[in-house]
Each structure stands twice: as structure tokens, then as C-alpha cells.
Amino acid sequence: MCRTGSLRNQVEDFLFREAALLDEWRLDEWVDLFTDDARYVVPSTDLPEGDPARDLVFIDDDIVRLRARVARLNSRHSHRESPRSRTRRFVSNVRVEETGDGELRVSANVLVYRFRSGEGAPYVGAIEYILRRDGGDLRIAYRRAVLDLEDLAWHGAVSIIL
């Protein structure tokens, strides 16, 4: 019981640190949290269970494209985020499951408010992670942000990291 509690604390610390890196636009540090075989996926709103190998999703990045996504977001030519939006992330309902092979299966609810050009709206959803132990640290091997929104009527795009 005690062990689960401390594991959750450790994972929550990791997720809160990750959220801060994103809200502070420290994206180079953020992308360093990922393993080289990592995947970042955002399914389409009408198919939350969508599989990028079969279905149309919004985002399916391997580490090469994820780093390119960060480079793009760091550029002033990433027009939807230049100037950058203000975001504030709330991460909660964290559940942790040890899979036995040194990996952790984690899910968390997330609420990301985004403000820009006189408008503000939330992205609401859940993020599923596979975290891998790397010495004393955790690394992200898989990160899937599943939106509860029915469409992108409020935002027009997924222009930030969800």
C-alpha cells in the first residue's frame, strides 16, 4: 500500500514536471523526456480508439517527427503558435500500473486551457503513458492524448502539444 503510494507520488511528480515544461514552452527539455523508440499519438475526435496503423488520427509521431514538431514549434514560422498561446495544464486522476517488465502503464486526466488572440478554450481528455525506468528517472516510451471534445470547433487545430 505504502509502496503504491510512493510510486504514484513519483509518477505524479514526473507528470507535473512535464506539464510545467509544456506550459513554460521548454520544449527541448520536454522532448528529451522521450525514449528513442517513443511514439506520440493523438487520435481523431470521432474515433478515440483509433489505431494509427489503420485509421486516420491527428498525430502519430515517432521520435524523428516529434523532434521536428518541437523544432517547428520553436520557430517563429509556426504561425498558429507565433506568437505563442498561453496554456495552463491541470493533471489529475492519476492511475499507475506496473506491467512487470520494468515499465509503468499510467493514465491521467488532463485539462489544458489555451488562450490566444482574445479567445480561450479548453482541450479536455485523458493521456495514456508507458513510462520506462532509466536509472532513477522515468522516460516516456508512449504517450497517447485522447480528447473528449467531439471536434476541434473551439481550437481549429491541435497546434500545441496536448
Binding site: 487520435p43 494509427p52 485509421d55 509556426s78 504561425h79 498558429r80 487545430a157 497546434s159
Partner: protein, 427 residues
């Protein structure tokens, strides 16, 4: 302002201007619904979205709630999504399968071909009650071309093939890429742009904006290097922009980037090289070098007037624009793939789509931003005109010229004035 003055089109001086009220006026938006959207063929969906008997899809098309369903006889039928009894929506999910359609209000039920087959307590209606008066209603006209289903709210609209004019050949060029026909993969990208819908029709055909607006995409692809082995395009004439009649337009590019059919590029990875060359060989056997060149080495952004785009470049996207208000459009995009592709071939294509296309891609978010920026700029009403004159004096306009956009606007302007046709040989 009189409608005829909304566009200045001076072919001798090379002046083409659109008055910005075309994008902002509520009055023009209402007239446009009647004179453009309600007179044309409007895209509904693809046959592959309803494969099995009873499969249905719900859509909003030119403001109307509709659904289409495959009947037990295999035929696709389209119905207004409103109970003939009191109006409630019959179909209340975006997609599903049904043997019988039942309204949840008074439980009237309908067969998949629209007949009223059940009325609880029917005797209470008396002897003159006629079930045939309460069949599900279809839009005035329904037709399809090679798997693409359209509806029209204009009972007198020309048949679909006539309507498609020169766009038909380009649709063929897309569909013929597949050996076993095309299908839409599950999932759609739905997003809203707070801008006038015509701006996206324009933007989707606009080659001039590619490098400045999408610089991060261009740089990303350039980072993979290019493939100069077996150069099939250098000796070819550059791309072209064309008005295809009826307001349909195309921007046709020589593709130096990759195309899943069938032009390998380093971005696809070395393991895809052999596979893609096999596809190309298959195309040459079937269609010959010339048509293969058009399919594989050229890409096309095709506008089926007024509000459907087939974007056939890094992958094939069907992009439908639903005008909602003068300053708002809802966009739905689907991914069209050859049925025979699976495994690694499908994976390459799905991946290629996401690099550029879609609201999470490396380019579409910038287009969303730029269109909203234009719409916001239009509030400066003293700046009255937008210029679309690029290449107007060029006898063979290229893809960064704007003939394709003028073709769209000329047809729109003719429709708004109650006229029907425009000259295909526009400049």
C-alpha cells in the same frame, strides 16, 4: 453594393479584385446559400463509408441534417434526417448499422429504403391514413460518380457528370490509382475555422503561399534530402493551374516530393523504395507511361465547385467545407486509400498524410491561422478589396498564378447574379 460590382475582372489590364464584403456580409451569405449551395451538387460521402447493408452515416450538408444508408438491396439511399411525423431526428449517431430505423419520439419505424413500416396505435388515425405519405424524404436529387455520392437541393440541376465538366478527368486520375477501388479509412478530422468558407476554397488551390506560409514543412521535408535517381520529371513542363469549367479548378504540380502512388522519397524510408517501384510498374503496365506520369509524378489540388476539395499530393484527402456563417466554416477531412493497400504500404501512406495534412500536421494549422487572420483583417472595412490577379497576363499560368482561384470566383459571381455558366478558357 450591387452584386455585379463585387468582383472587378479586367482581363486587358490584368486586374482581378474581390470585394471583401463577399466574406463578411450576412446578407450575401444568405443569398449565397440560395444561389450557390442550393443550386449545385454538394458532396455527401463515399460509398466505402457504408459497406454493409444497414450501415449508415449522418452528415450536415449545406445546412441540412441528412443521413445515408445502404439498403438490403445494396443500394445507397439518402434521407433528410427528420421524422415525417413531427420532425425529430431519426438518425442520432454519426455512424452505425440498423435493420429498421425507429424515431424515438412516437416510435414510428421505417425500413432502410425509407418506407413507413410501423405506427403504434395506427387505428386511431382513421381510414384515410396513408403510410405512403409518410415515407422518409430524400433530397430532390441524389447521384454518385465512381464512389463519390452527391446531393442537390435543386430539382433542375444538370446531371452529375455534366456538372463535373473537366473535373471528371481529374477525379478519374485519382480513382484509377487504385487497383481494387478506393476506400475511406476510419476516422475523420473535424475542425472549425473562424473565417469565410471561400477563403479555404482559395487557399487549398493557392500555390503562391506554399513556401512563405508553410516554411516549417518545406524545411522539414528538405531535411530528408531528395531522390535524384531515375529522374522522371526534369524534362517535363512545369505544373499548371486550370479552370475546368463550372467553377471547378485544379492546381497541378510536378511532384518532387514523395507520393505513395508511386514516387519514392527518402521521407518514406529505404524499405519502401522497392514496394513503391512495383506499384509504379503495375501502373505503367495498365495505363502506359504517360498516364502513369500524371498519376505518380504530378499531384493535384482539385476543387469540385463549390465546397469539395480532393487534395492528392502526400496522400489523398477528401476535404469538405460546410459554410456555417459569414465568418465560420466547419471542415471535415477524410483519408482516401486504395483498397488493396495494407500493412507497410498503408502505414507509409497514413504517415505521409499526417506530415502535411490535418489539424495536427505541419501545415494545416498555419492555414487555419492565416484564414482567421484574413477574416479578422476584413474588419478594417476601409480596406475594401482583395487582389487575385497574379499571372492574369500569363498565357500559360502556373500553380503560383491564380487562374484557378479566379475560375472559382467567376463561377461564384455568375451564380450570385443568377447566371449559370462561365467560359472555361478564362485567364
Amino acid at each position: 453594393m450591387d452584386i455585379k460590382d463585387l468582383i472587378v475582372d479586367d482581363r486587358d489590364r490584368g486586374v482581378f479584385r474581390v470585394h471583401r464584403s463577399c466574406m463578411t456580409s450576412a446578407g450575401l451569405f444568405e443569398q449565397e446559400r440560395e444561389r450557390v449551395l442550393d443550386r449545385c451538387w454538394i458532396y455527401l460521402g463515399h460509398e466505402s463509408e457504408v459497406e454493409a447493408p444497414g450501415d449508415y452515416r449522418r452528415r450536415t450538408v449545406a445546412g441540412r441534417p441528412l443521413f445515408f444508408i445502404r439498403g438490403k438491396d445494396g443500394q445507397v439511399r439518402v434521407f433528410l434526417n427528420s421524422c415525417p411525423h413531427r420532425g425529430a431526428m431519426i438518425c442520432r449517431r454519426d455512424a452505425g448499422n440498423a435493420g429498421v430505423l425507429q424515431c424515438f419520439y412516437h416510435a414510428w419505424s421505417f425500413s432502410t429504403d425509407g418506407d413507413l413500416i410501423g405506427v403504434p396505435g395506427e387505428d386511431a388515425y382513421g381510414p384515410h391514413f396513408d403510410r405512403t405519405e409518410f415515407c422518409l424524404k430524400a433530397p430532390p436529387r441524389v447521384d454518385s460518380y465512381r464512389g463519390f455520392h452527391f446531393v442537390s437541393f435543386n430539382p433542375h440541376v444538370e446531371d452529375l457528370v455534366t456538372y463535373l465538366a473537366g473535373a471528371r478527368d481529374y477525379l478519374d486520375l485519382v480513382v484509377d490509382q487504385a487497383e481494387e477501388g478506393m476506400r475511406v479509412v476510419p476516422g475523420s478530422n473535424r475542425y472549425t475555422i473562424k473565417a469565410n468558407w471561400k477563403l479555404l476554397a482559395e487557399n487549398s488551390l493557392d500555390g503562391y503561399h506554399l513556401v512563405p506560409t508553410h516554411r516549417t514543412y518545406v524545411d522539414y521535408i528538405a531535411g530528408f534530402g531528395t531522390d535524384d535517381s531515375g529522374d522522371t520529371v526534369s524534362a517535363r513542363p512545369p505544373g499548371a493551374a486550370k479552370a475546368l469549367g463550372g467553377g471547378h479548378c485544379v492546381s497541378e504540380n510536378i511532384s518532387r516530393n514523395g507520393r505513395p502512388i508511386a514516387r519514392w522519397h527518402p521521407v518514406f524510408g529505404e524499405e519502401a523504395r522497392e514496394r513503391i517501384s512495383l506499384v509504379r510498374r503495375r501502373l505503367v503496365e495498365k495505363y502506359g507511361e504517360e498516364r502513369t506520369y500524371r498519376m505518380a509524378d504530378t499531384s493535384r489540388n482539385l476543387l469540385i465547385y463549390p465546397n469539395l476539395l480532393i487534395m492528392d499530393f502526400v496522400a489523398i484527402s477528401i476535404r469538405y467545407i460546410e459554410p456555417v456563417a459569414p465568418d465560420r466554416m466547419d471542415v471535415t477531412a477524410w483519408h482516401l486509400v486504395p483498397r488493396e493497400e495494407s500493412g507497410p504500404a498503408l502505414a507509409t501512406r497514413l504517415d505521409s498524410y499526417l506530415t502535411f495534412l490535418g489539424p495536427g500536421g505541419f501545415a494545416t494549422p498555419d492555414d487555419v491561422e492565416v484564414l482567421e487572420s484574413c477574416q479578422a483583417g476584413f474588419r478594417a472595412t476601409e480596406a475594401e478589396w482583395s487582389d487575385i490577379s497574379r499571372g492574369m497576363l500569363n498565357p500559360s499560368p502556373g500553380t503560383s498564378d491564380e487562374l484557378q482561384m479566379r475560375g472559382f470566383w467567376r463561377q461564384w459571381h455568375a451564380h450570385m447574379q443568377g447566371r449559370n455558366t462561365t467560359n472555361v478558357q478564362d485567364r
